[in-house]
């Protein structure tokens, strides 16, 4: 890499290639304080504090992440997420009422089908809303992120892909993941910069297939290398581009052995502290992620321009929490 960068420097002195440090500076002890106060307030308020607790948690984690000398900020508030929470609950109340209505009409099958179709359609709506909210509430040097996807498009894309996944008995899942990831990540903005993701369903399918097979053969020891490859496929295919043609690329430098150390360490940290070590596990994992990530290119991060609007509706964010589908896109 150093060779290419010096070559580039010779060719184009205005845009020399360089690397941009990213690191996580949060400490387990600090995070423990955040979590314990959250926990106490959530317990006292019988769970109502949850949205505020979540805001505090995200504020801590974002602020502890430093990129190119400046920290990220999460601007979302408990009030916003509480409003979203109420709306999300209302959506579920209406859905359940609809189901009850069909059962009362002696048409339980129709009711259940409609109910699950609605839930299925809610997943992309939740992803869309969640991305829109989170991105717009995230900033770096006061420059906001943004998500410019179209809800209708995403819903259609999701339904088409989930149908294919069901028809192929799950075989299509890698394509589903990649199609969603490509759609969403390619619509993420960072000020005037654009994110770019170039995942490929077939490549991803082979990666997953290889992961499963080798894991089986090696009595799951390969799991660590498999996990590493999945993460690397995410990071290595991600880049950020400016309209003027400059860009940054990302690279995952973790090895399967690193993953083994991380996951075993986390496991024992949790077991021997009976869960108290959770905050250390989280900080350790994020630190691992960023310390094994290289960001390099020729983009000037001092020249970003504010371009994304504020968006304060957290309904999608809360819907995702309720659905709890754990899809990483």
């Amino acid at each position: 890499m150093e060779n290419t960068s010096s070559l580039r420097e010779l060719l184009n002195n205005d845009n020399p290639e360089r690397n941009y440090p990213i690191s996580f500076l949060g400490e387990g002890g600090e995070y423990f304080g955040v979590l314990i106060v959250n926990w106490l307030l959530t317990a006292i308020t019988l769970g109502i504090y949850y949205p505020w607790a979540k805001a505090r948690k995200l504020q801590f984690l974002f602020s502890a992440t430093q990129f190119n000398g400046a920290r990220f900020v999460f601007h979302g508030t408990g009030n916003e997420m509480f409003k979203g929470f109420i709306k999300a609950i209302l959506i579920f109340v209406v859905l359940n009422a609809l189901l009850a209505f069909f059962i009362w009409m002696q048409m339980p099958i129709v009711g259940i089908i409609i109910f699950y179709l609605c839930i299925l359609a809610l997943i992309p709506i939740a992803i869309h809303g969640s991305y829109k909210y989170r991105m717009s509430r995230t900033s770096w040097r006061s420059i906001r992120f943004g998500y410019r996807g179209d809800r209708k498009e995403l819903v259609m894309l999701f339904l088409k892909n989930i149908l294919l996944t069901i028809v192929t008995l799950g075989l299509y899942t890698p394509w589903l993941s990649m199609n969603l990831r490509n759609y969403i990540l390619n619509r993420v903005k960072f000020g005037n910069l654009k994110f770019k993701y170039t995942g490929n369903g077939s490549e991803y399918f082979l990666l997953v297939l290889k992961g499963y097979l080798l894991s089986l053969v090696t009595l799951f020891i390969y799991m660590f290398w498999f996990q590493r490859n999945l993460l690397a496929y995410y990071i290595d295919n991600l880049s950020i581009a400016n309209e003027d043609g400059t860009e940054v690329k990302m690279k995952c430098t973790a090895t399967g052995g690193d993953f083994f150390k991380l996951l075993m360490g986390n496991f024992f940290l949790l077991i021997f502290t009976l869960g108290i070590g959770y905050s250390w596990v989280v900080c350790r994992t994020i630190r691992f992620l960023f310390s094994h990530m290289e960001i390099y290119g020729n983009l000037d991060f001092d020249k970003l321009i504010q371009s994304e609007a504020n968006y304060t509706d957290a309904t999608g964010e809360d819907l995702s929490d309720i659905l709890d589908f754990g899809i990483v896109v």
Binding site: L25, G26, E27, G29, E30, F32, G33, V34, I36, V37, W39, L40, A43, R56, Q59, F60, F62, S63, A64, G69, A70, R71, V73, S139, W140, R141, S142, I143, G191, F267, L270, I271, L274, G275, I276, Y278, V281, F301, D302, K303, L304, I305, Q306, N310
Partner: protein, 360 residues
């Protein structure tokens, strides 16, 4: 005070601007000074976000702009002067220190543990009172139906033991229904409602009718005291509490907590066994049947189960302990036993049947 080094972002571009901050308490302003210019933000418009070692300062009137400093002391000072801020108490808690946080953690865990040990079981027992008796019957019937499908019933013995049981007043709302099944194992159990299942080999070593009466009394006591239902309610409420508290933390801890819950259920079921021994003894007493039958029963069980599990992991109290408990009950409580010719006759008929366990 000394100027604090900070970075100001204008909200239009990402270009960092070095500035110095200071506080003018009299005019309630935060002063911002750079090489080129000077300005100030009114304290009443400030929003301060302290997170770890980073301080972000915003102005509500110009929300896109921000100032960053890593001087947490200055951030706290600002917070104490920001007039309307619902955050002050939060930061007080957040910065209370590790000792305070650990104390909070211990206190909350203590409350959860106390409610797990005392409040939840209490609520579970009250819940059982609210569930009508016939629900036990329905549940028992379902379990019985599923269970009996895979077993072979010994009809002769079932009828004989049933007519034996019909002679005894167990004090249950309806008479227990006996089923004797073929098995290589020596055991008996009661289902919620009315069913008692007896594994044939347990009858084999019995020498006298009080022993069989003791076995039936013990099982009938389980039904009478609704132990299955109580167990179910407690297990469920324990599970709900465990998953509510730990499922959000992470999977591994949830599994650990769930296993601790299961271990606790074991000791709980041992308490039920002890109670069934005691109530079974009372049923014998009430029917004027010799309670020594219970001691005979335990002695036979003891030879049957030579390899005893450590008490920690066993559902039943150690047999020696049970014998001791019954002996002390016999000593404490005056009782009268009559001879029951009818029971005797049926018992002799049972003994006459072939109880040899089927060879597998």
């Amino acid at each position: 005070m000394k100027d604090v080094v900070a970075t100001w972002y204008d909200g239009q571009s990402s270009l960092p601007n070095s500035v110095f901050l200071n506080l003018d308490i009299d005019s309630k302003q935060m002063l911002i000074r750079s090489d080129q210019q000077e300005g100030s933000w009114s304290l009443e418009n400030l929003r301060v976000q302290i997170s770890g070692k980073s301080v972000h300062i915003y102005n509500k009137l110009i929300p896109d702009q921000s100032i960053y400093t890593d001087h947490v002391g200055f951030g706290k000072l600002l917070l104490s002067h920001v007039s309307v801020s619902g955050d002050t108490w939060y930061y007080k808690m957040l910065h209370a220190g590790t000792v305070a946080h650990i104390s909070i953690a211990v206190a909350v865990l203590g409350i959860i543990l106390l409610s797990y040990l005392f409040i939840v079981p209490w609520i579970a027992e009250r819940a059982v009172d609210l569930i009508p008796d016939n629900y036990d019957k329905g549940l028992g019937e379902t379990i019985y139906g599923n269970y009996i499908e895979g077993e072979t019933i010994d009809t002769t013995l079932t009828n004989l033991v049933q007519s034996f049981a019909d002679q005894i007043d167990f004090g249950t709302s309806s008479r227990p229904l006996i089923t004797v099944v073929n098995s290589t194992e020596s055991n008996a159990f009661a289902l919620p409602g009315e069913h008692i299942v007896i594994y044939k080999p347990i009858l084999k070593p019995m020498q006298n009718y009080p022993e069989l009466a003791a076995l039936l009394s013990h099982e009938a006591a389980h039904i009478k005291d609704r132990h299955s239902m109580k167990m179910l309610c407690r297990n469920l409420s324990g599970y709900i509490l465990v998953s509510a508290v730990f499922s959000d933390v992470n999977g591994i801890v949830a599994v650990v907590a769930d296993n601790a819950n299961q271990l606790r259920m074991l000791s709980y079921s041992r308490a039920f066994e002890k109670q069934a021994d005691f109530d079974g003894f009372n049923i014998l007493k009430h029917n004027k049947i010799a309670p020594s039958g219970m001691i005979d029963l335990f002695n036979h069980l003891k030879t049957e189960r030579k390899n005893q599990t450590a008490e920690f992991l066993s559902t039943h109290p150690l047999t020696d302990e049970r014998i001791k408990n019954i002996k002390s009950s016999i000593k404490k409580e005056p009782y009268q036993n009559l001879s029951h010719s009818k029971l005797e006759t049926v018992f002799l008929n049972i003994k006459k049947t072939d109880i040899e366990s089927p060879k597998k």
